[in-house]
């Protein structure tokens, strides 16, 4: 503990001088990097528009209110599509993600050399690309529509499902698995009776959690033509129909809040 003497008074300090200098230096570099980055953003910004922003925000708000409630009747169908994109996308992701998870977990993978790195690559590459990018790609491959949206959600979710599931598989209790093995069970039987019951709660929890996230993500896929309520949002934005935009945003908010509530209820019931 570094203590300096000031006159005949001993003063306690948390760090000695060299360490303190190092920390200050790290802060200095951090601040410099931040200022440098800020400078780049600032150069690319038309500050006149920014200073005008409060007026524009008030203007948009004024135009958006009152929301055009009659538009709501046209929105039920796209909202239904959005929910379908999220639900079926999650389901597809689970179907594809579960085998990947078993290949990726060190205690269940058939080959550590070859299949495990492959499974990890699938997990990383599907996770690091946003579902909107997948939607862009799929729309340009198989054409616009909610099918492309569903596939985009599914592919994006594979990595999420597989990653959390393989971590759960690796954390399973070895005693139970050995007990099943001791009965002479085959490898598949060990998975079915030793591992699956242990990971079931985690699996159900993460599926519902991902479904909740996917509801949120599927609301925007329409911006790139992949169906759902986002399609109506982007067309309303394009014609600057702010009262319609307000209705859509309120509807999305309500849907997200409901899905969050459902998911938290289900997770509490499971865990």
């Amino acid at each position: 503990m570094p203590v300096t003497t000031k006159g005949d008074l001993k003063v306690w300090q948390r760090r000695d001088r060299a360490k303190q200098f190092k920390i200050w230096f790290a802060w200095l570099i951090g601040v410099a990097i931040f200022m440098f980055c800020w400078e780049i953003i600032s150069d690319k910004t038309t500050w006149f528009f920014v200073f005008d922003a409060p007026r524009i925000a008030a203007d948009i708000g004024g135009r958006a209110w009152p929301p055009r409630w009659s538009y709501l009747s046209e929105l039920w169908k796209p909202m239904w599509d959005t929910i379908n994109i999220a639900t079926l996308g999650t389901l597809l992701a689970i179907i594809m993600g579960v085998p990947v998870a078993f290949l990726a977990a060190t205690n269940t993978t058939p080959s550590k050399r070859f299949l495990r790195p492959l499974a990890l690559l699938i997990i990383v590459s599907t996770r690091s690309i946003n579902s909107l990018v997948w939607a862009l790609l799929l729309v340009s491959i198989i054409g616009p529509g909610i099918f492309a949206g569903t596939l985009a959600i599914a592919i994006r979710s594979i990595g999420f499902v597989a990653k959390l599931l393989y971590e759960a598989i690796e954390e399973t209790d070895i005693n139970q698995i050995e007990a099943i093995q001791a009965t002479g069970a085959s490898k598949l039987q060990v998975i079915a009776y030793g591992i699956v019951p242990q990971i079931m709660p985690a699996f159900a929890g993460l599926s519902v959690f991902r479904w909740d996230i996917n509801i949120r993500e599927s609301t925007i896929l329409g911006l790139v033509g992949a169906g759902g309520i986002g399609l109506y949002l982007s067309s309303s934005l394009n014609i600057l129909a702010w009262p319609q935009v307000a209705v859509i945003l309120i509807m999305i908010l309500v849907a997200v809040v409901i899905s969050e509530w459902v998911s938290s209820k289900v997770r509490l019931a499971i865990i």
Partner: protein, 272 residues
């Protein structure tokens, strides 16, 4: 286990796996509901299979283009976009964390008075409800095109994310330590700084690094709506069916995300 044993004929007593949902009514009810839902949902799918079949060639081309991605043709666009994404990530993460900390203090039920607690929780809930892209659209409409809109969008979502998780961590601190500092006669600021801060710091660092990762991933799509970053280049590449350029961008994004994930794993292992 009694319920799981099908009795009846004494000889054919067999063990059955206990079902996931114990109540038979719920089990079959949910099953029927699920089937009804899938039938209803399948009606909204109108897949043009010939279009899909035609598209498979393009899909194959896209996969092939990963073998020889084209970094060169649009390198100036790509590098500018990636650079902008990084800049947005750095600034929005820093500002977001700085603003999130007071909000987190206000949203922790063991620190804040009831009114402030509800106000802060409300801000966080609204903040988290809308998807980043929707916020970005609004910000572009208000602040104009460019990275500033992206910066504001990601700052807002960083605030919601960090404040919510940090508040939960503050609520879970160990009380004896906090009381020990309080019993020395410390003021409120001293109490926060010496009792709360050391307990939540590892978690805050971990969350911040994780958030850098998320922000970079998001900043790569903000360009789709004109909020800066590499997304605009990516969108153009797909629109022109320049899959080799798109592949190059995606490879760069994946590479940076992997590096970030490695670094964040390393740092988190050190602080926790």
């Amino acid at each position: 286990m009694n319920a799981a044993i099908t009795s009846g004929n004494e000889k054919s007593r067999r063990w059955k796996r206990p079902p996931l949902i114990q109540d038979t009514k719920w089990r079959y009810g949910l099953l029927i509901l699920a089937i009804a839902y899938f039938i209803a949902a399948s009606f909204s799918y109108d897949v043009n299979w010939s279009r899909v079949y035609e598209g498979l060639d393009r899909g194959w081309e896209f996969i092939k283009s990963f073998a020889n991605p084209d970094f060169k043709t649009r390198w100036s666009d790509i590098s500018e976009g990636i650079w902008e994404s990084i800049v947005i990530t750095v600034t929005s993460t820093v500002v977001g964390i700085i603003l999130a900390i007071p909000l987190a203090l206000g949203a922790a039920s063991n620190l804040a008075p009831k009114i402030i607690y509800y106000i802060c929780r409300g801000i966080i809930a609204v903040n988290r409800a809308l998807h980043e892209i929707i916020v970005a659209i609004l910000m572009v409409a208000i602040f104009g095109f460019g990275p500033l809109a992206g910066f504001i969008t990601l700052t807002l979502s960083t605030i919601g994310f960090i404040a919510k998780l940090l508040a939960e961590d503050i609520e879970n601190i160990s009380k004896p330590q906090a009381e020990a500092v309080k019993s020395t006669g410390s003021g409120w600021w001293q109490w926060i700084n010496y009792a709360i801060q050391p307990q939540v710091m590892p978690r805050l660092i971990g969350l911040s690094i994780y958030r850098v990762d998320i922000n970079f991933r998001s900043s790569s799509i903000l360009g789709l709506v004109g909020a800066g970053g590499v997304g605009a280049t990516l969108n153009t590449a797909f629109d022109r069916y320049e899959f080799d350029t798109a592949a190059a961008i995606i490879i760069i994004i994946i590479a940076i995300v992997m590096v970030l994930e490695y670094v964040s794993g390393f740092i988190r292992a050190r602080v926790q």
